[in-house]
Amino acid sequence: MTTTTQPDAHHAEPLVSPKRGRPDPAVLLEKYALAGMFILLCVVFANMSSTAETFPTVANIKNVLGGESVIAIAALASILPLTCGQFDLSVGAVIGLSSIVGASAVATHDLPVAVAVLAGVLAGSLVGAFNGWLVAYRGVNALIATLGTSTLVAGLVSLYTDNQIISVGIPESLTNLGAGDLLGIPRPVYAIAIVALFVYYLLRHTPYGRYLASVGASPSSARLVGLNVPRMILSSFVLSGALSGIAGILLLARAGTANPQVGPGFTLAALSAAFLGATAIRPGTFNVPGTLLGVLFVAISVNGLVLAGTADWVEPTFNGVALLVAVTLSTAIARRRAGQT
């Protein structure tokens, strides 16, 4: 041992982890700031004169929950590639594709609903596999690769549908999945719950989730602890595609029609929620509860503003601000965690 009594920079740190003892208030604030803001917004809208009558009603809450189900599932899909450090900008286009594939299967080809659902999910997985191949095995930047596939998929959907909405021949057994309540809760909420539990389990409770996070933290280190990095990246895109496929089927079930134009619009909303989620609950990490909170936060804000009668420009502007703030904050948190400030 050294004989010196001078504390050295790294030996002098506390011997007991601050995490074990009493929680640090700053840490708690960071974890639950988004939840706090969410509750605050709810209180404001419930009491503001222009929204007090419509906002805190069961019908409105059900409407918000049901309406956000597609974005929620898309956001949950996008955090899988994000966890291993890759953007997937094609979630929206895949939602559009899957809803068209599903609608076409039941309406044009008279296939059973189960087959239509599978076809939608399969179509999403194939797009995901293509994205993953480009990114993991051809070294293409994920932003560009998925932007390209997104545009390509939208183009093919437009070609296939001739830009016509598929609205005839969607059976009730399919639309029932997206409408009405079960035990007093809107059916799409069950879909969110199932997907959320699945992604949460995958990320937090399986080696696969740990491996994804390792690849995201350092691809080279991941390779040198024996992980097959390209395969991890590929699989995260396939899963993201498959889950977006489910979101597409849900969209079809809720709308009762398949519109070739609506898919791509979901991408940024999903990413906003994912990045907002990375500022909460487990700050600096893409996580399921945070992502759901992010979806709800954006949804309630927009819902309240719309009920208050604000103009059309408010919603996109708010979404844009939410995304930028979310990305800036989550980046700052991640950098501070890694000791880079």
């Binding site: 050294t2 790294h10 982890s17 409770h205 040198l224």
Partner: protein
């Protein structure tokens, strides 16, 4: 102009202290650099060396009470700013030379200083080229102003960034060039080129404050040396009074012999890993036998294929041909996962990029190679993982003593202990260590040696690559020297001293091997 006094001190700090959140990392530091000398600043990690440099640069504000004086500009240390440092003539060049690869030499020189412009604000390229050529000549850099910096050799890039820092200085006698670990990422032959250039600048009268870990370099280059330990200035001496051993004593604060654990008396004759005719990358037929419980050192210059050897054995580089046997069974790893299954572990050279998961917790870093162990009953057993991780944090004396700390915020030595623990917990048959103590402070270093010895006592065999000949000599039971892709020499017993190993590595026409 400052009139040259008898002492002619260019840079002088007195009573410089720096405290971070109650921890004193620099205490009452006194540094005195004379005009025209190469003054080395030495100390282990955590010695306060980098803090002192950052205070001089004005990046960190010092505690009140100290004073910094440079060429007659004198100010209280807590008011020192980057602008004052620049105006006083302190020029900093860091380990990463921060030059722009895709731009030309002339463009690199003009960036930060400004381009010579013609009418309408457009760049006057011929004038810029002429100015660049003049600067290159002054700093003896033998490249064209038009050359792309990406095509320069590493030493030339560092020289270019020195030239860029000093280009506006009127004469060589003004200002102080502060070089912070300029050779840390350079291969050995590039170091020689750079040191030759530095000697030339010094001969022209340039004052240089030189920060480095590499003792032979300092002994060769510096006129005087200041050694810091635990934030305190332990000594300022003329280099002529010192040798490598006395420098190590000053840095470590104890006798060299006690830094290294005792070597065990015997090594078994049983062969753990046998390599015959290994061809991969620059390796052209390597033969070696690693015995059970042996630390086999691998010496050789950079580029001799040392790292390739380890990576090939770990399945990270394709093996073109060769016969490998691990514990008697044929061994041909195709990827790291298969090498790991066979019982091989590797601690890579570049800890930051290839060893650590900087944004993950210490716990996740410790488990990275054993995640499936915690997978039971359909979920990861987080409780079991946490208690194992806490035990390892204790056993390896990782500071801060928390398995929840973010790994990237640990000091270099503690990061390396985490990476070591990650692999040693697998009780590897063969442990491959690539520069295990690079950028690691003296204290953590001896702890790492201790853990290597303990692993060996438990039956692991170690292949150790290090450019630190002292380490090689003291930690290895036997050393093989790689040269031109082959094992060119072997040293054991009495030959295991740094001097001899250096000779074996550097001298290519070695006949007595």
């Amino acid at each position: 102009m400052i009139t040259g006094g008898a002492q002619d001190v260019v840079l002088c700090t007195t009573g410089l202290s720096k405290t971070f959140a109650g921890t004193t990392v620099l205490q009452d530091a006194h540094l005195e650099v004379k005009r025209g000398e190469i003054h080395a600043l030495l100390g282990g990690n955590g010695s306060g060396k980098s803090t002192l440099i950052k205070v001089l640069a004005g990046v960190y504000g010092a505690d009140s009470g100290g004073r910094i004086a440079v060429q007659g500009v004198s100010a209280p240390a807590d008011e020192w700013s980057p602008a004052m440092a620049r105006n006083a003539g302190l020029h900093f060049v860091h380990q990463d030379p921060a030059v722009f690869g895709p731009l030309t030499v002339a463009e690199n020189l003009a960036i930060g200083r400004g381009f010579i412009q013609a009418v309408g604000g457009r760049i006057n390229w011929p004038a810029n080229r002429r100015r660049a050529a003049k600067i290159l000549e002054r700093f003896s850099i033998d490249v064209s102003p038009e050359a792309l910096v990406a095509n320069l050799r590493p030493a030339e890039r560092t020289m270019l960034s020195i030239a860029r820092a000093l280009q506006d200085q009127e004469g060589a006698h003004d200002g102080v060039l502060v070089l912070d670990e300029p050779t840390a990422s350079l291969p050995a032959w590039e170091v020689d080129i750079l040191l030759a250039a530095l000697r030339k600048y010094a001969a022209a009268g340039q004052t240089i404050l030189y920060v480095s870990h590499r003792l032979p370099e300092i002994l060769e280059l510096a006129d005087r040396v200041t050694v810091l330990r635990d934030g305190i200035q332990v000594a300022t001496r003329d280099i002529a009074e010192l040798d490598e051993r006395s420098l190590v004593e000053l840095i470590a604060g104890r006798d060299l012999e006690r830094v290294f654990p005792d070597r065990p008396a015997t090594v078994s004759e049983e062969i753990a890993l046998s390599v015959r005719g290994l061809v991969a990358g620059p390796l052209r037929g390597v033969d070696l036998d690693l015995r059970r419980g042996e630390v086999l050192g691998v010496a050789g210059l950079l580029g001799s294929g040392r790292t390739t050897l380890l990576r090939a054995l770990f399945g990270d580089i394709n093996i073109e041909s060769g016969q490998l046997t691990l514990e008697g069974a044929p061994f041909r790893p195709r990827r790291p996962a298969s090498a790991m299954r066979a019982g091989v572990a590797m601690v890579p050279e570049d800890r930051g990029a290839e060893g650590l998961f900087g944004s993950l917790s210490v716990r996740e870093n410790l488990s990275a190679a054993v995640v499936p162990r915690y997978w039971s009953l359909g979920r990861l057993q987080h409780g079991r993982e946490r208690s194992d991780a806490s035990a390892l944090v204790g056993a390896y004396a990782v500071r801060p003593a928390s398995d929840a700390a973010v790994a990237g915020t640990l000091s270099g030595g503690n990061q390396q202990k985490v990476v070591m623990a990650r692999w040693l917990r697998r009780d590897p048959v063969v442990l491959l260590l690539d520069e295990p103590t690079q950028g690691v402070d003296v204290q953590a270093r001896s702890e790492i040696y201790e853990h290597v010895r303990r692993a060996v006592a438990k039956g692991s065999s170690v292949l150790l690559v290090t450019s630190d000949f002292e380490e090689l000599a003291h930690l290895s039971d036997r050393v093989v020297v790689l040269r031109d892709g082959r094992v060119a020499a072997e040293a054991r017993g009495g030959d295991l001293d740094p001097q001899r190993l250096t000779e074996l590595s550097y001298i290519s026409e070695e006949t007595s091997a």
